[in-house]
Each structure stands twice: as structure tokens, then as C-alpha cells.
Amino acid sequence: MRAGPLIRVILVALLLAAAATAVAIFVPWLPDQASEEAGRTDFVFWFVTAICIGIFAIVAAISVYSFVKFRVRPDDDSDGPPVHGHTGIEIVWTVVPLILVVAMLVVSSVALARNDRVPADHLRVEVLGQQFAWVFAYPEEGMEVGKHKLACIDRETRLIADRCKTSPNLRLPVGRSTRLYLTAREVIHSFFVPEFRLKQDAVPGMTTAITITPTKRGDYPVICTELCGLGHALMRSRAIVTSAAEFERWRRSPSGENGDTSP
């Protein structure tokens, strides 16, 4: 008598887990993966998804079984068994989620720490968000910049120094880590490239930073994801990842030339 419902619930759970897995696999969820950071983020994503499918399947199976099996006939006025609780079961459904939570915390923290690393040999790019466009500024390679300082963007006036090459599109060499330093002119903006799985707000008066290590050449959208006024929806740009040689060629060309519009 006790094994009957358990086996049925497990069967329903397996069925639901299969259905949820199908949704996870056959729906094109994540966009292309174009950075090392994206690889780690996606690992966390699928790790959490797997746990969620498990929880969903169990909870949904118990619900479906209970709702179908225990619905009452219209003329039945009786009460259910007066079960007030079960300490053992209550401990189980407190401890098991706790263990899963700790597992997700560990995996997330490790991925976060790795994605936040600043490699010694990184390219420096400074980003100014303004209504309603991005400016990407490239200081000369090897230039010494103090901590919390910007080489290209004046924090007071938010003007961009002439010695820096600027571009409306983000240009990156493939395979090398780039550290983006972001600030904003008047209101908060947010830099987002779905293919890199990276997002960071640009805040007036502050400098924020992220590390991007592109792994695939291509042309990706840069989207503003913090409501910044009337032109928010149109505040878009491109992240163009090229070979190191091509990037160097572009970088040595004067600002505004050499095809900021073509990849």
C-alpha cells in the first residue's frame, strides 16, 4: 500500500523531468558563447538548471498525483486523516534544499571569482556611457594608470583625451583578456553583450570594471540595459572581435577611420 503511490509519483516525476529536460535542450536558450567568461557562466547556468529540473519534477509530480488522486466526490463530507506533521520529513525537506543551495553557492562563487580575475597582460579599454551612445576609448599600450584613475576620460568634465583612440564600437582582439573600465556622463547606463554573458552598469562619478576574454571572432550587439531616458531602446552599439593582427592595424589607424562600421 505504501509502495504504490511512491512508485507512481516517481514515474510521474521521471516523465515531467523528461519533459522539462526537453524544454531545456530543444528551446534555444542561451545565445552564442563568445568569451571564456561565458563558458563559466553557462556551466553555472546548466548546473542550476539541472537542480531546478529535479526540484520541479518532484514537486510537480507530488502535486499532480495528490490533486488527481485525492480529489473528493461531491457527496463526500468526510475529513482527511488528522496528520499534523512528521519531524523526519520536515528535517529532510529543510536539509536537502540546504545542501543544494550550498552546492549552487560554491559553484557560483568559484565561477564569479574566476570571471573577475584581472590578468597581468590585459588590454585596457575605457567606456563612457552617455545619452544615448557608447564611446570606447583606447589608451596607449603600456601607459601607467593609477588605481581608480582613468587614462582617457576626465572624471570631472567627462571629456575624452585626444591621445586616446576612440570608437563608437567596441573592438577587441580574440583570445586576449580586456579590462573594461566604465563610467557615465549624466545618468546610469548598463553595458551588456549577451554573447559574452557580461553586464555592468556605468555610473556617473564612479568607475566600474569587468574582464572580457573573447574566444570567437564576430560582431555582437552591445545593448544598454539600464533605463536611461527616451533613447534607451535605441542605445545600441557593436562589439567587434577580430584577430590580434587586425586589431593592431585598426588601433594604429587614426580615430574615426578604417571602418568603424564594418567588421
Binding site: V59, K199, P204
Partner: protein, 621 residues
């Protein structure tokens, strides 16, 4: 002159005039040009003084002012208590049952308005291009939609339902402060009208979060939101204090804390959250308004202000606000699921304790809204820990509800459909919440449609579904009439299916990278958005059935018995609707509220009944 709408009209005008004179006078005296500057005049005269005049005119302060000035007051004068005709619902009324109905009907009106704003948003988003509203109007549409739904629907709707049933549930004749209760209600329409009026002074278009510095840069209409939040917040705080004092001091003899129905527990924790957290949003909106109107520099970095400070203060309220919008729903779900399954709540004490755990953890997670905001990086992991830990007490609640239905005699009447609909949707919303709590993932998903999907699963599939569960469950008690069961079920199934069709695909386009709060978007998301828009119109249409059912059933539904659900809590032991002071005599509570299936168990002894035999006392967990 007698309090009423006529006096309210001229006193509103009078107080507006006083405000006008004050501002113009001070400006003229100080030699500022121009003396008549409409922005400060509207802020002071229309948004601050006129509402005070309106409330005074209605008579919200009559008793207190009379007492303060030494006029004879009669505490036992109950002429303003209870409703004898429909017009009694349109004045200051000290009966918690009248106030409860005032709350619920008012909030449903704002819910319908907020829903129509959402329909307009979805119409614009049906196709990728800019279609029929300009960007400023679009921003105002989604901003007002969220603000109305949060401040004028979910939070006060719960306050309204609890206002009606909570005092009866604990065996009290009314709330502890009936006059404060009446005042709390009348602050709400003021806040609602103010938020809607912001459309006519364009400018409230910075999102309901109203982030500085964008909020400061918005046109003048933004001040309407800042002030509306003050009125709605004052209403919330007053109600919460009222609930706390009522629960602590007015429980019937024998109603110990461990015998309180879970709805009472839920509103006890919610009220603590409101009292502690709400002053923070009041502060954040005052800062923004001062920056805007008085040219202070709280958030202007060029003058030494700190833009992120706004977000910290705002979310210190607005994350607990998420639980303010959910815990009362947990309470309603517990009442409905236990009564409709004919079984005691599984793990009653752990259910109450997990509410407390959510209350405490809820104050330590605010910065998970700021993982990409540029705050101190070391703050992210601790905030992630507390955020994911909330899954544990929340999970306990979900598992306990399911265990309550297990081997029950489940009656799928409309309230039960909404309650189990809530549990299932809340599971999905809870799981998608993990994707917004794990920092590496949320760096990708924050500010995308994934967030929109998540909040609608927890606030629509969660809060709204429990509000409907509560409305259908207590409708017979409130009106003395039964609603139409068939229409109720049609309403549920239509809403449930359309809700999932509307919001589930948002997870997909969100992960794919569609940002929120945009009126035009990448054409690759076009098909999904068209599908979402069509589904959302079906969802919107489903509420017409609800409104029709409520109005027709209230006028001519079948008379309701006092206890149609055969529930054990106290509100079902009195007539439908209950007598003026709820009980002829304060009941004696002798047992737990969910003793379904326990032979001879009693929750309470009402007047005219035999004294307890002692048997019920022994039925303890």
C-alpha cells in the same frame, strides 16, 4: 458643518489655497522671481495640503481634533460604524469590515486600470518597430503600470482582505484603532489619483524603481510619484501598526500565538516588515524630490552626491516589499488549502517559523538587485548566500502545502483552484529566482525579460492568485451571497492558461538577451512578442468574467450560509455577513484552528454554547 463630500470639496480647495498662499507669500517676501512658480506650488498645495484638506473634510480627524480642543467626545458613539446602505461605503467608517470592503473594491479598480496600462504596453510591443506611442508615453505606461500594481493593488489588497477577516479570526470586535484604520484607507485613493495624475504632468517615466539620477532629470510629473508613495506608505505603516497592536493585544482568551491561524501569523510578520522597511522608500523618494524641487545634491555626483546611495536605500525597502507582497498570500493559501483539503496544516509551527525566517533573511538580501550596479564587489557573495538561503524556508512552505493536500479530501472549488494555482506558479517563480540570485547567471539575466518573467510569476502567479483565492474564499462571508462557481472556474482556467502563455516565453527571450523597458527591440524577438501580446489580451479579458461574477453575485447571488466551506477558523463561526461587532460575546479559544479530522476537536467556544468538556484541550500537536 457635517463631515462629508461637500465639506471635503471646499476644504480641499481651502487647503490648496493655503498652500498656494504659503508658497507665493514666502517667494514674494524673499524676493524670488517669479513669486508664482507652479512647480513648488503644485508640490506644496496640490500634493501635500489639498489631501489634508480632503481628509479633514471627510471627517478623518474630527474625533481627534475634537478631543484635542476639549470638545465633548463620545467613545461609545457608533454612528460611524458599520454600513446600513451603499452610501456608508463612501464615507469615513470605523468598521473594519466596511473598511476591508472599501480596500478590496478600491484596489480592484486600480488593478483594472493598471492592467489596461499593461495592455497598452503589450500593444506597443506586438511588433519590433516603434508603433503607436512615443518613447516618453511608453516609459510612463510601464512605470505607472508597476507603481499602481504594487502600491495601489497588491499591498493594499492584502491589507484589505486581512482588515476584514483578521480581527474576526482572532476573536476581536474590531481593529485596535478603528479611526486610524479609516484614515489608512482614505489615504489610498489620494495616492492612486496622484499616480494617475502624473500622466497629465508628463514625467513619471523612470521606471517604478525611479533610479536617481534619471529620476531627478525627469520632467515635473515625477514629483507626483514621490508624493504618492508618501501617502500610500503612510497608509501602509498605519495599517501595519494597527495589525500589530490588534494581534498582540486583542486576541480572544485562549488564542495563544501557537493557536493563531497562519493568516494572522502571515500578517504579523508582514506588518513587522512594513513598519521597519517602508520608511526607507519614503526617505528615498524624499531625497529624489528634494534633489528635484529644492536642488539638493543627494544623488548628483558632480556636487559630491552618491548615485548608488539611492539604490541601497530604495532596495532596503523594496526587497522586503517583495515579502510584504507575498507573505499575506502565504497566509491566505494556508487557510484555503487546509480547509479545502479537510486536513490540518502539515507542520504548523515550522510554517509559522519559516515566515519569521523569511522576515529576518529578507532584510539581508537587498543588494541582490544591484549585482551589476557597481557596488562594492565583496558585497556580492554574502548577498548571494542570504538570497539563496531564503529558498529553504520558502521551500518548507511549498512542501508543507503539498503535504497538507496529501491524502486529503480535496474540494477544487474556485478558491482552492487559485490556491494550488498559486503554489504551482510560485514554484516556477521561485526556481527562476535562483537564476537571479546566483551572481554569474544574474550578470547575464538582470535587466532582461527574464526578470520580467520572474516578477510576474511571483507577483501575478503568486500574489494575484492568492488575492483571488482570498476574494473567492471570503466572498460569501463579506457579502452574504455565493459567487457563481462555474464562472469562477472559467475565470481561473482562462487566467491560468493565458498567464503561462504570456509570461513563460519571456524567460526564453530574456535569456536570449532582450532587454526590459524598451519600446522597440531586435526583430529576432518579434514572433515571441506577438504571441505574448495576444496571450496577454486573453489574460486581460479573463478579468472581465471576474468583475461580472462579483457584481452580479453581490446583487443577486444565492444567499450564503455562515460556513459554506465547513472551515474551523472563527470568521466562519459567525453569520454571513458577521454582526456589527463580530461576536455577541468574545469567544473562548480552546484549541488549534486546523483540527480537521480530529474527533471532537474544537477551535473555540462561542456564546450560547456549552462550556468545553476538556476533550478539545488535549488535542495538541
Amino acid at each position: 458643518m457635517a463631515p462629508g463630500w461637500l465639506r471635503a470639496a471646499w476644504m480641499t480647495a481651502l487647503f490648496f489655497g493655503i498652500g498656494f498662499g504659503l508658497v507665493a507669500g514666502i517667494r514674494a517676501f524673499a524676493g524670488w522671481d517669479p513669486a508664482i512658480d507652479w512647480e513648488p506650488i503644485i508640490t506644496v498645495a496640490a500634493l501635500t495640503m489639498a489631501p489634508i484638506g480632503f481628509l479633514s473634510g471627510l471627517g478623518a480627524f474630527d474625533y481627534w481634533l475634537g478631543w484635542a480642543f476639549g470638545a465633548p467626545t463620545r467613545p461609545d458613539d457608533h454612528s460611524g460604524h458599520g454600513a446600513r446602505s451603499w452610501s456608508d461605503y463612501f464615507r469615513i467608517n470605523t468598521d473594519h469590515k466596511v473598511i476591508g470592503i472599501q480596500y478590496v473594491t478600491t484596489t480592484i479598480v486600480f488593478f483594472l486600470v493598471g492592467g489596461m496600462l499593461a495592455m497598452l504596453v503589450r500593444a506597443e510591443l506586438a511588433r519590433p518597430e516603434a508603433n503607436f506611442v512615443d518613447p516618453q508615453t511608453y516609459n510612463e505606461l510601464f512605470t505607472a503600470h508597476a507603481a499602481l500594481m504594487i502600491f495601489l493593488f497588491v499591498i493594499p489588497a492584502f491589507a484589505g482582505l486581512a482588515n476584514y477577516v483578521l480581527p474576526i479570526m482572532i476573536g476581536a470586535p474590531d481593529m485596535a484603532f478603528p479611526r486610524l484604520n479609516a484614515l489608512s484607507y482614505w489615504l489610498l485613493p489620494i495616492a492612486g489619483i496622484m499616480m494617475l495624475a502624473s500622466f497629465f504632468f508628463p514625467g513619471f517615466g523612470a521606471g517604478w524603481t525611479n533610479y536617481a539620477p534619471l529620476a531627478v532629470e525627469q520632467p515635473f510629473g515625477n514629483v507626483f510619484f514621490s508624493m504618492a508613495v508618501q501617502w500610500a506608505g503612510a497608509s501602509s505603516i498605519a495599517t501595519a501598526l494597527n495589525f500589530l497592536v490588534t494581534i498582540i493585544t486583542m486576541r480572544a482568551p485562549g488564542m495563544t500565538f501557537w493557536r493563531m491561524p497562519l493568516l494572522v501569523w502571515a500578517n504579523f510578520t508582514t506588518s513587522l516588515l512594513v513598519v521597519i522597511a517602508t520608511p526607507f522608500i519614503a526617505g528615498s523618494q524624499f531625497f529624489v524630490m528634494f534633489d528635484k524641487v529644492m536642488h539638493t545634491n543627494f544623488f548628483d555626483f558632480a556636487e559630491g552626491g552618491y548615485p548608488l546611495g539611492y539604490q541601497h536605500i530604495f532596495w532596503f525597502y523594496s526587497h522586503p516589499a517583495v515579502y510584504i507582497m507575498m507573505l499575506p498570500g502565504f497566509g491566505i493559501a494556508s487557510e484555503v488549502i487546509s480547509a479545502m483539503s479537510r486536513k490540518p496544516i502539515f507542520g504548523y509551527r515550522l510554517m509559522a517559523l519559516s515566515l519569521m525566517a523569511i522576515l529576518i533573511l529578507g532584510f539581508s538580501v537587498w543588494a541582490h538587485h544591484m549585482f551589476v550596479a557597481g557596488m562594492a564587489p565583496w558585497l556580492r557573495v554574502p548577498m548571494m548566500v542570504t538570497t539563496l538561503l531564503i529558498a529553504v524556508p520558502t521551500g518548507i512552505k511549498v512542501f508543507s502545502w503539498l503535504a497538507t493536500t496529501w491524502e486529503g479530501r480535496i474540494n477544487f472549488a474556485t478558491p482552492m483552484l487559485w490556491a494550488v494555482g498559486f503554489v504551482s506558479m510560485f514554484v516556477i517563480g521561485g526556481l527562476s529566482g535562483i537564476f537571479l540570485g546566483a551572481v554569474p547567471i544574474v550578470i547575464h539575466t538582470s535587466d532582461t525579460y527574464f526578470v520580467v518573467a520572474h516578477i510576474h510569476y511571483v507577483l501575478l502567479g503568486g500574489s494575484l492568485f492568492t488575492i483571488f483565492a482570498g476574494i473567492y474564499y471570503w466572498f460569501p462571508k463579506m457579502t452574504g451571497r455565493m459567487y457563481n462557481e462555474t464562472l469562477g472556474k472559467v475565470h481561473f482556467w482562462l487566467s491560468f492558461l493565458a498567464f503561462n502563455a504570456t509570461f513563460f516565453p519571456m524567460h526564453i527571450i530574456g535569456v536570449q538577451g532582450m532587454p526590459r523597458r524598451v519600446y522597440t527591440y531586435d526583430p529576432q524577438f518579434g514572433n515571441w512578442n506577438l504571441f505574448i501580446t495576444i496571450s496577454s489580451f486573453v489574460l486581460g479579458a479573463s478579468f472581465i468574467i471576474f468583475v461580472y461574477n462579483m457584481i452580479v453575485s453581490w446583487r443577486s447571488g444565492k444567499p450564503a450560509p455562515s460556513n459554506p466551506w465547513r472551515a474551523l477558523t472563527l470568521e466562519w463561526q459567525v453569520s454571513s455577513p458577521p454582526p456589527l461587532f463580530n461576536f455577541d460575546e468574545i469567544p473562548q479559544v480552546v484549541g488549534n484552528p486546523y483540527e480537521y479530522g480530529v474527533p471532537g476537536a474544537r477551535h473555540a467556544i462561542l456564546s450560547g454554547e456549552r462550556a468545553p468538556t476538556g476533550e478539545a484541550e488535549t488535542v495538541q500537536r
